[in-house]
C-alpha cells in the first residue's frame, strides 16, 4: 500500500512521462521528425509498414526509457521508492501496450513476438515485484534487441 505522498508522486511522475511522450509524437508529426518522415516517404508499402511499426514501438519503449532516465537523475530516491515508482508505472503502461496492439500498424507484426514479449516482461515484473530491477533491465535489453532486429529487416529490403 502506498503512502499518500508516494501515490501522489507516482501519479504526477507517470502523468509527466505520458505528457512528454505525447509532445514527442506531436513534435515529430509537425516538425518532420526524421524517423517518422523516412517511414512516410517510403514507397514500398511493406517497408513503410515495417518502418511505422519500428517508429511506434520505439515511441512506446521511450516511455520506459524516460522513466529509467528520470530515476537515474535522482540518486536521492531510495531503492524502495524506485521500486514503487517502477511497479506503479508498469501497471499503467501495460494498458497502453494493450491499446497499441489493436492499431492497424500493429497488424501483421514484422517481428512476431514484438508486443507479446514486452507484455510478458511487464506482467512478470508486476507479479514478482521483488525481481523488478531484473525485469526492468530485461525490458531495456528487449528494446535494444528489437531495434537491431528492425534495422536488419530494413537493410534486407534495402538490398533487394
Amino acid at each position: 500500500m502506498f503512502e499518500e505522498e508516494n501515490y501522489r508522486f507516482c501519479t504526477r511522475l507517470s502523468l509527466q512521462i505520458m505528457r512528454e511522450q505525447r509532445e514527442c509524437l506531436c513534435h515529430d508529426s509537425t516538425q518532420h521528425g526524421v524517423a517518422l518522415y523516412t517511414a512516410l516517404h517510403e514507397t514500398n508499402p511493406q517497408v513503410r509498414h515495417l518502418r511505422f511499426q519500428y517508429y511506434l514501438v520505439d515511441w512506446f519503449d521511450n516511455h520506459w526509457n524516460n522513466l529509467r532516465s528520470l530515476l537515474d537523475r535522482h540518486p536521492e530516491y531510495t531503492v524502495d521508492q524506485k521500486k514503487q515508482i517502477t511497479l506503479f508505472f508498469a501497471e499503467r503502461f501495460v494498458g497502453l501496450l494493450d491499446m497499441m496492439s489493436e492499431s492497424v500498424s500493429m497488424a501483421d507484426l514484422c517481428i512476431p513476438d514484438l508486443l507479446s514479449i514486452r507484455k510478458t516482461i511487464l506482467k512478470k515484473m508486476i507479479e514478482t515485484s521483488e525481481k523488478w530491477e531484473k525485469k526492468s533491465d530485461e525490458f531495456c535489453l528487449q528494446n535494444k534487441k528489437c531495434e537491431e532486429q528492425f534495422k536488419a529487416l530494413i537493410m534486407q529490403y534495402d538490398k533487394q
Binding site: 499518500e4 501515490y7 501522489r8 501519479t11 504526477r12 507517470s14 502523468l15 505520458m18 505528457r19 511522450q21 505525447r22 509524437l25 506531436c26 508529426s29 509537425t30 517518422l36 517511414a39 512516410l40 516517404h41 517510403e42 514507397t43 508499402p45 513503410r48 511505422f52 511506434l56 515511441w59 499503467r92 494498458g95 497502453l96 491499446m99 497499441m100 492499431s103 492497424v104 500498424s105
Partner: protein, 125 residues
C-alpha cells in the same frame, strides 16, 4: 417522476439524528476533513484541467495542422498520409485515456480514504 431517489439508501430511523448539536458537530468534522484534503482537491483539479487543455489543443490545433501539412505534401502517397494521420490520432487518444485513468485512480484512492475517515467521524458523533 418515477423513483428518482431510489438509488439512495434510506438511513434507518434508529440512526437518524435531528439533534442540532449533533448536526453541527458532524458539519464541523466534515469541513475540517475537507480543509485537510484541500491540497489533494486542488492537485486533482489541476491535473484534470491540464489534461483537458492539452487534449483540446491537440484536437483544435495540432491534429488539423498536421493533417494540413501532410495533405499538402505532394510526394507522400495517399495511403501513407491516411495511415499516419489515423495512427497519430489513435496513439494520442490512447495516451490521453491512460492519463485519464491515472487521474481517476488517484481520485478514487483519495475518495475512499476520505469516506473511511468520514465513517469514523460519523460513528463517533
Amino acid at each position: 417522476m418515477g423513483d428518482l431517489f431510489g438509488q439512495y439508501t434510506k438511513v434507518p430511523p434508529e440512526y437518524q439524528q435531528d439533534n442540532l448539536e449533533t448536526l453541527c458537530q458532524y458539519e464541523e468534522h466534515y469541513m475540517r476533513l475537507v480543509r485537510n484534503y484541500a491540497g489533494e482537491i486542488r492537485e486533482i483539479q489541476t491535473m484534470m484541467e491540464n489534461l483537458r487543455k492539452e487534449r483540446e489543443r491537440f484536437y483544435r490545433k495540432i491534429l488539423p495542422e498536421t493533417e494540413r501539412k501532410i495533405q499538402a505534401d505532394e510526394v507522400l502517397s495517399p495511403e501513407a498520409k491516411k495511415q499516419w494521420i489515423e495512427e497519430f490520432r489513435t496513439n494520442m487518444e490512447n495516451s490521453f485515456r491512460i492519463s485519464e485513468e491515472l487521474i481517476s485512480h488517484y481520485v478514487t484512492s483519495n475518495l475512499n480514504e476520505f469516506k473511511d475517515k468520514m465513517k469514523k467521524i460519523v460513528d463517533k458523533v
